[in-house]
Symmetry: C2
Subunit: 342 residues, 2 copies
């Protein structure tokens, strides 16, 4: 399939370390609930209908490009499609969150998991990517993504969201061998899934370790890091590693060879550059709550953030997903403040 030629390649250039006129900008969860048009689709279709229907995937993924002007599109999907493909069903309960009726409890459970053929189990994602690439008309690049193995283990063991994922940790501390088997199976599935996304048309890739920050540095090195490293090593497009809360492992994250390191807002630009240097691209890290502030404040803070990180080897983003009740014009002001940066 021949896709339209890419016009705005700022994101890819920033990840490759090239000099740019200004940094690119996008927002985590930009294809989602803060957009009123997304809410209309949310009323009409279930979560998995939206994920599994290519024209809906494309419509949602491209929405923030047309409506707020992001420099990159990120695929509309969910990290929990991977546990589903591995045989662990997920219900998305409105107003409650994900619920897994069956969870991983033992070494035998972990060993029984069969790494799926992702082209069959997750073929709908690849169809969504192809449709989106056509519909984007080359305006901006499309970022594919997956959840990191530790974060997926959290859900596959705990069976739902949690503030501390203590059941998941209990599993790791009581049955470290079972945890290793499960993490490796998730890793193998994720590598195949990432390669299939790239083959289908993803031009960049982000790995989300949303719950990395719940681990101590020692446990992060045991239960998360080795698997992140394997995945990054197999990635053939410009990539970003976002391990939320893992400020303590920035040097190790850089050592994976990732092109970009995503940061949450607990790290100042100065601390980040001191540890990471200027030879890796940093992405982040505007506190999503700061988008509630008056627009002139948003503009001022955004400019200051770019001044502090530096315009090169930098991708402007939030430090976590955009909050659902942020006014669209505040999000647009954030994007425009980057576009007007000088």
């Amino acid at each position: 399939m021949e896709f339209p030629k890419l016009k705005n390649d700022l994101l890819l250039r920033a990840l490759k370390g090239e000099t740019v006129e200004r940094p690119p900008v996008w927002m985590m969860r930009q294809a989602g609930r803060f957009l009123p048009d997304y809410m209309v689709l949310r009323e009409k279709y279930t979560f998995f209908e939206r994920c599994e229907t290519p024209h809906l995937v494309s419509e949602i993924t491209t929405m923030p490009i047309w409506q707020v002007g992001s420099d990159a599109a990120i695929l509309f999907c969910d990290i929990l499609v991977v546990p589903m493909a591995m045989g662990y069903h997920v219900d998305m309960v409105p107003g409650v969150g994900p619920r897994l009726p069956r969870t991983v409890k033992t070494l035998a459970d972990a060993e029984a998991i069969v790494v799926p053929d992702v082209d069959i189990a997750l073929g709908y994602v690849m169809e969504g990517i192809k449709q989106t690439r056509m519909d984007l008309k080359g305006e901006v690049p499309l970022i594919g993504f997956a959840g990191a193995p530790w974060t997926l283990l959290c859900y596959m063991v705990q069976g739902k969201g949690s503030k501390d994922f203590s059941e998941a940790k209990k599993f790791c501390f009581e049955q470290p061998e079972a945890a290793r088997v499960l993490l490796q199976k998730i890793t193998d599935t994720t590598i195949a899934y990432m390669k299939a996304q790239i083959k289908a048309g993803a031009q960049a890739f982000q790995l989300f370790d949303s719950w990395a920050g719940l681990l101590s540095p020692d446990d992060f090195m045991e239960f998360s890091y080795p698997y992140l490293k394997q995945i990054v090593a197999e990635c053939t497009v410009p990539n970003i590693l976002f391990a939320k809360g893992s400020w303590y492992a920035l040097e190790e994250l850089k050592a994976t060879g990732a092109n970009g390191i995503g940061l949450d807002w607990a790290v100042t630009p100065e601390m980040a550059r001191k540890v990471l240097g200027h030879d890796v691209t940093i992405q982040g890290n505007f506190d999503p709550s700061r988008l509630y502030a008056p627009i002139p404040k948003i503009e001022q803070w955004t400019k200051e953030m770019i001044d502090r990180f530096g315009k090169d080897r930098y991708i402007v983003n939030l430090g976590h997903g955009i909050l659902p009740d942020v006014p669209v014009d505040h999000a647009r002001a954030f994007i425009n403040a980057v576009k007007n940066y000088s």
Copy 2:
């Protein structure tokens, strides 16, 4: 009132920087749900009955001393008694958490708050302290505590627990002047409350900034730090400052002059000593989930943790509250591993 003479003064000596035979140990939330005898009282009395009845306060506070052998007792109470004393009622909804029917929304709301006479509004806490001091018979010191202003603002504005306290942050970013007025009123109340606790018999004091880690370093310096500093400056007993998630501000926390700095498990002992040095006492930072591990593992990890922090200027604790379903013999193994340290 004459209290029994203190026998085990390890905690106070560690906070004063004296050389000790071994570090003292206690556990955050040790007077609580992991103890079956506490669960019996929980069935019989409401949360506020337990907090407001001196003999129940004493029974619950001293329970972990007799049952697992902690080197310090921490008062059984809740940080939300302060908002209550300030006129913001709190319902403790079983299985759900705290709910404030009325919240702070505007500058006018903040200005209308009257700093209470704590001896009247919170007199029951002081009665509980006196009863506990008598019943402890000098076995171990009694730690008083309060929530930090930023953490209390979170509840007074959001009205309930939250994973991101985005309403509370919205309030700060939209109405910074209102936030300052509210934070100062909480601070003034907390200083009076702390002094009253000390006068009643608290021999040490811990300030809990449970939600500090939700703030960026810049916002922490604006909305949390100035108030922590005021409170520490007025404290006349050995004290501990625990700002969970604020690894980025360790130097500033030390600069408050606090005797002890509490840490969560995201910081390694080496990082902590590198930043804080050996001239301040560190408390922490065992991941509470690690208490699920087999007992020999708990013993090994506890010994390694003390080796890494060093036995002096150190208080062994968890990095956050003990989890409700940790077996009592695992908690006891943790305490005993410290007592057997050599």
